[in-house]
Amino acid sequence: MANMTRGRDASAVLEVRGLTKRYGSFAAANDVSFRVYRGDVFGFLGPNGAGKSTTIGMLLGLIKPTAGEISLFGLPPSRHSEGLANVGGIIEAPAFYPYLSGRDNLRALAHLRPGTTRQRIDEVLDLVGLGEAATKKFGKYSLGMKQRLGIAWTLLHDPDLLILDEPTNGLDPAGMLEVRHLILSLAEQGKTIFVSSHLLHEIEQVCDRVAVIRRGEVIIEGDVDELLSQTERLIIRTPQLRDAAALLRGLPGVRDIEAADDLLRVDAPEVRPATLNAELVRAGIEVDELRRERASLESTFLEVTGDQWEGNAAA
């Protein structure tokens, strides 16, 4: 997992409390709360239209919340724009001037980031793989190149917190992989990264903490490993399915057993596989296979909400 290689400290870089945005009677975001700690790669997941961009819009000061508070780097909400100076963010499709080249766009916008040097502009363009296309006009960029320029813009002033809204939108599989690697390498440099996506598997591969938003409300928040462990199962293949099931049901720590074909799917997060194996062998039950079934965020979502994930279908 991504978080195995990184350290995280307990200070919240971004804290959102009861954030709500209403348009008439429609709540685009309703009582959204979460914390992003220093060093986190925090995934903000939700199907299309769930309220991700509205929430990010509020984080970036584009949308005024109806209620709730946002604290960046421990600053009071009244000093939000000061905190934003240390944030690099893009929301939805990266937007730049179509008549300027990628480099000139960054040169013009670098005035919003005092102290940015021309050398830094070239550095970030190289970092996102746009070094050779730097002189091409933004209006002629492909969607993937636009995404890369968006990421370059977020990195320009070397901020502590990056907020990336669907950064792999429009990228081909190779491009998506590159962005994932970039996110991981930035995290290893100590950056805190908040990344939104409607693609669960994408988030699963890079994030160590997630919040899932649906219909404007955060329904799941936590450590990816912990969330996945909730839906992790032990798979036992045996010719004596009925005997094995009867035995395992009586063991402490076994919460549920599903039988399917010639295998059992055992929900026993606190029990070691070796312990189960020993019990089965002691009872004379042959075990052909014993393994952990890797859970996914999708199965966690299904278990928590009872709904199918709508996001992947749209991808």
Partner: protein, 300 residues
């Protein structure tokens, strides 16, 4: 307990201290807006149109009146410096507002249609500072547009002077005439600033280039019609006419002479006209600033 609370507070302060970075200064934003405006093709086209139209109209007038002798009463000095500036600034005051309306609407509305406003505002830049930087660049562009027209006018007029055998004719240049020219330039720039401010504000408020252009051009087209209609409804209409934007503009244009000339009685007085025009710009700019600071910048 108190010690712990103090430690936590200090820790939060320290964290906040390392987190904050300087916000862009007004001069940074000015530089950014200048780069964006200068590099935009629309800007080049607008300045080229001003130069070509002014030069073209003066050349055409010279050809029709003096080469083809359509008006035997006309004097050649009317198309030579400095007298040509009187009619010339009238041409600039007619063309300039339309051109600056397009530039102003583009500066405000395009930021929304391209989505670049969210890129900028999302960086934490103070919104009011950003808008004021844009308006400042627009003010400079208004002045430069008038200067461009004036230079084109002076260039063609000098050419005519040479063709007609008067040479470069620089003898008219003295302190008094120079002062008059500066006043003409300032008055004409003021007219452009009003339309620029109005178009910019409308484009900014409605987040639409078309809305800004429509108001700028609409005023120039429908203003005189409105003034005529107002004149038809008696005293109230005449009073209303004083506050029609094109009537006030006509007053300012009529001041652009080297000799004292009476302002036609149907037009408002100079100071009344200047105040009316200033309000036409200041009120929309104030409203645009207010709405920009308050409204959400949503994703289209």
């Amino acid at each position: 307990m108190t010690t712990r609370a103090m430690t936590l507070d200090r820790s939060a302060e320290a964290q906040a201290g390392t987190a904050t970075r300087p916000a862009p200064r007004f001069v940074d934003l000015l530089q950014m807006e200048f780069i964006k405006t200068l590099r935009r093709r629309m800007t080049h086209v607008i300045f080229a149109i001003m130069a070509l139209m002014v030069a073209g109209l003066l050349s055409l007038g010279y050809l029709v009146v003096f080469v083809f002798e359509s008006n035997p009463d006309a004097e050649i000095t009317d198309v030579l410096l400095p007298r040509v500036l009187e009619d010339g600034f009238e041409i600039i005051a007619m063309l300039g507002p339309i051109l600056i309306a397009i530039l102003a609407a583009g500066m405000a509305g395009s930021e929304f249609s391209w989505g670049t406003m969210r890129t900028m505002v999302g960086s934490g830049v103070p919104r009011a500072r950003l808008l004021l930087a844009k308006l400042s660049v627009l003010a400079v562009a208004s002045l430069l547009l008038v200067i461009t027209g004036t230079v084109a006018l002076a260039g063609v007029s000098t050419g005519i002077s040479v063709i007609e055998g008067y040479g470069l004719r620089l003898s008219w240049l003295d302190l008094s005439t120079g002062y008059d020219v500066m006043l003409m330039l300032a008055r004409t720039t003021f007219l452009l600033l009003v339309i620029a401010g109005l178009s910019f504000s409308i484009a900014q408020h409605f987040r639409s280039v078309a809305a800004g252009i429509a108001i700028g051009i609409g005023i120039m087209v429908f203003g005189p019609i409105l003034a005529e209609l107002a004149g038809l409804i008696g005293n109230i209409g005449e009073t209303l006419n004083d506050y029609v934007i094109t009537s006030a503009m006509s007053t300012i244009v009529s001041l652009n002479t080297f000799e004292a000339r009476e302002i036609p009685p149907v037009l408002p007085g100079p100071w009344e006209a200047a105040a009316t025009l200033a309000l036409y710009a200041v009120i929309p700019i104030g409203l645009a600033l207010w709405s920009f600071r308050r409204r959400d910048i949503t994703v289209d």
